[in-house]
Amino acid sequence: MDFAAHLPVLPILLPMAAGATLLLFDERRHSLKAGINIAATALLLVLSIWLLRLVDVAGAPVVHVYRLGDWAPPFGIVLVLDRLSALMVTLTSVLAVASLLFSLARWHKAAPHFHTLFQFLLMGVNGAFLTGDLFNLFVFFEVLLAASYGLMLYGSGTFRVRAGLHYIAINLAASLLFLIGVSLIYGVTGTLNMADLAQRIPEVAPENQGLLAAGSAILGVAFLIKAGMWPLCFWLPTTYMAASAPASALFAILSKVGFYVLLRLSLLLFGAEAGALTGFGSEVLLIGGMATIAFGAFGVLASQSLGRLAGYSLLVSSGTLLAAVGLGDKAAVSGALFYLLTSTLAVSALFLMVELVERAQEPAANLLTVTMEAYGDDVEPEEDEQEEVGVVMPGALAILGICFGLLALLLSGLPPLSGFIGKFALINAIFNPAGLGAQTTGPGGMGWTLTALLILSGLAVLLAMMRTGIRTFWAPLEVIVPRVLVVEIAPVVLLIGICVAMTAQAGNVMRYTDAVADALHHQRLYVGSVLPEAASEAGQAQ
Amino acid sequence: MRNILPYPVLTAALTVVWMLLNSFSLGHLLLGAVVAAGASRAMTALEPSKPRLRRWQLIPWLCGIVLIDIAKSNFAVASVILRRRARSPGFVSIPLELRDQTGLAVLACIVTSTPGTAWVEYDSATGELLIHVLDLVERQEWIDLIKNRYEATLREIFE
């Protein structure tokens, strides 16, 4: 095996190694720890881009299968690197870079082990994206959740702890559901490997199909909690609002993990060849997704603080994605992925903006937000005074204003940025599921409703952000110029810049997402790559 | 030697434990010795009062009488429970001369392990022991039992 063959496992091992190494150094060595974290995150970004290039080759789709422990699937655990997972890993590392940069200004010193938790979160997220094993997925879910608990509570404070308690309680319940679902599926099918499962599901005896469906449904509920579907999503806005800015910026990917799994599993396990269970749950996703969009839109409008607004806008995007999975056709999936990229980047940037904007609103907040909360009580004031990292931004308010405006465009899906293209791609898919020009009947009632919801939710986001933006940037008589460091605004600009670049390169990105959607609809390809022997046997049998 | 094997008796005992757990073989003797030595070294950190075993040959005898006493007490307490016999529980205070902590610990184990008696309180300043007896017929009998039968032997062993 040459080195390149080991690439699929590196997005998991690299953060893990970095996180573990960080533990060997004393807590007070902030710069050293930050340095390690920066290096690891940068390396992860490079690596993920490498992976992206590895799978994005013309011709037949490439699926890299990594057999951990050199055990053949379905017995050993496999990692599966295909276009979808490479895309998600790359998105994660981009968010990580942004979030890390932001945290360098002050957050990373607010409490112990920030960098370690940060790297472990990346490990968990990447593992969830890469694994091809249902129980291993659970483990990585737990890794990412555990790290997210840590980052969520990072910095402590009343509001945060209260929200954290809810977040943890609900996710513990979800984890239990996950376990019930996985084990029930194992009890009926006798396997945990996703590809193997895809093979076995059509052959499940009729008297066992009810149990299998029940297991899948329970599993689905667990994912829906994480993906934030109404009415399982109420924890989400509060949690994201309460978490520190870099944490919530990174959390933007977490709800996408739920979406990713739903997308992957519903197409792999309940795709066209799943026998009696074909299309299992897709209606629930569609209707639930639409309900989520509606609820999120109302929530956005009802939000009084920017943080909550950002949280609800995340719900809108979650709902949109779920509904797209519910639609299930290639065009919708491709559009959804495009939308996913842009909305995740934008929401993440918005979460970073929240803190900066709030600093502009409240003079007291201008002085070290962190210290107020984190150092409230302390018997051992061992941390020294915060020192400056980077240079304070001139014209900060103007730049914040521009960024805010661009984010409003991105999140509401108003032209010309990628937010619009994503939404348009989805609407286009609703009207032309087989592609533009292929004559199909118009969308049904669901299609019209979804279209209306997509458009109206964008409007709601626009109204709400306009309200907030006007209140923040236009209304105040005396303008408080917030102390914003370059390292704080740079990640926002970076994320928005990527969205802008995605706008310009929308054709290429869509080509990629089209290819992803196409591959997802050929579950044989996935199964055949993971289980070549089984696939060839099946081929011979036919 | 003292630094490497600070508690030779302990190390030996642990090696025996190891071989009991695994098997009596040469391999496990060596492995057990290594593990036991490591564990003993960990023990030094806790600075236990180092017991001096003066007359260790009394130990088997003590074990023997304790096992028999316990068996008797088992029978007695079982009959108390089963026959719902009238009983007169009560506390007995016993002045002890034994000061060695390990000795006290062994005494406590004996008293408590024996059905019908329970170690309740020991005042280190006065050396006064308070035990609870399930069926307290004759107070002095219990005092004698503890003082003469157990304490005396233990003092011989440890002091």
Binding site: - | L20, L21, R87, A108, S113, T114, P115, A118, V120, L134
Partner: protein
């Protein structure tokens, strides 16, 4: 129970006897916890199980496996040793705690607000 077929009758009988003795003592101890009225009486009850109750069953197990493996196997003895070392610790601590609790309740009957016990109160 294929393993038991190979067992000589005397060993089987002895094992059976020891097992039953141990279990009976333990059961009697447990009944004691039901019958005794106060904690200080009840504290004596479990010692039936932890002394010869355990001892008998441990012996039974040792006997059985020694006979079956035709070599002396005593790892079970460790169980007996550990039980007779650790159980007194708990009982001592519990008894002392109870003594304190009862004393302080009597002592501070005048100040009932101090009487609340930390996690638990009589029902």
């Amino acid at each position: 129970m294929t393993h038991a077929e190979a067992l000589p009758a005397w060993a089987a009988l002895l094992t059976a006897f020891l097992v039953l003795v141990g279990a009976s003592l333990t059961l009697i101890g447990a009944i004691g916890t039901l019958r005794f009225r106060t904690f200080f009486e009840r504290v004596h009850a479990p010692t039936l199980g932890t002394s010869w109750g355990t001892g008998a069953i441990v012996l039974a197990s040792s006997l059985l496996f020694s006979v079956l493996g035709s070599r002396l196997v005593f790892p079970e003895l460790l169980i007996g040793v550990f039980v007779s070392i650790t159980t007194p610790v708990t009982l001592m601590l519990l008894a002392r705690a109870t003594l304190y609790r009862e004393r302080s309740e009597i002592a501070s009957a005048a100040a009932p607000d101090l009487l609340e016990d930390p996690g638990d109160r009589p029902t």
